[in-house]
Symmetry: C2
Subunit: 192 residues, 2 copies
Amino acid sequence: MSPDASRRNEQARRAVIEAAFVICVERGFAQVTIEAIAARAGVAKTTIYRWWPSKAAILLDGVEMHRDASAGFPDTGDIMVDLTTQTANVMALFQGDFGAIWRGLIAAAQSEEFAADGVRRILRGSIDACVARLAKAVEAGQLRADLELELAVELIYGPIYHTWLLGTRPVPPDFMPTVLQALTPALRPQTP
Amino acid sequence: MSPDASRRNEQARRAVIEAAFVICVERGFAQVTIEAIAARAGVAKTTIYRWWPSKAAILLDGVEMHRDASAGFPDTGDIMVDLTTQTANVMALFQGDFGAIWRGLIAAAQSEEFAADGVRRILRGSIDACVARLAKAVEAGQLRADLELELAVELIYGPIYHTWLLGTRPVPPDFMPTVLQALTPALRPQTP
């Protein structure tokens, strides 16, 4: 492929992803269609179908593209400070444009294997980063030596997903600090 | 309405709900359509639309119908035993036919207000029952006096929904006993 054609392809790819994001944020995942994306991006439907198998695939590519630019798990040396910062970032992301896209992908993941694989792959990166940070805190004596780290991630992030996906109550602004405080006796080393 | 017509209506309603359940379990929520339900139940599409606004509404009615028959939160007098029993019941439900339906309704709830309201209403009943049981355990001195009970429900059930909806890892058979054991220092009264 010539450099010009390659650049045009890359621009079209970005236009498609951008269009899918905007439609999802403005109208919700259920309203995202290949027709609407093609119209907004100024790209033929056939081109889109040549590159992606479904709308979920387009949004997944977009999420993975944006994630590359984002920083890793914070590390100030104090695990509770870092968990507070990181969960606040996650809550803010979920309330913003990214939240609309991520919510749609998780919904799609309940019935589409392709979306389920993508969601799993993206989360695996985040979970591994969190587990690595928790492992460092265990070494530093800030967390229980016998803490199952994968389980600890589920204890910490489970309540976020529970309230966010199930909508069981309005989430107070201090929700995650309260969760972390409640979990502290389960996370901290036992005092002798 | 005559007693006969009323009985016929009730039979048709049940046939529609039953058909929606079977299709959802066999083929997944995405494949449930009013056409397929009508064909399977032997009921006209127009009749279905007169009674329900969407497929989610049919499944929600079915879930609420089945729930009436189910028992409340277990109460043996030992809260950790009861939480172990109840979470094992939930995990078993999620792995069975009910899980396919509940998973579809939660997916629909991410973009449909009607489904979101239904999911919230059903969960509210379960959460209130759990909170009442936890309150009794606080009174009995089995749980921390300062435990926020709504938050405690999210700490306990958050990890179930996290693993079940996000599919981040294969769930081991002893998953919830392990979660409850890990949470015990956060739930139990502090030893002096």
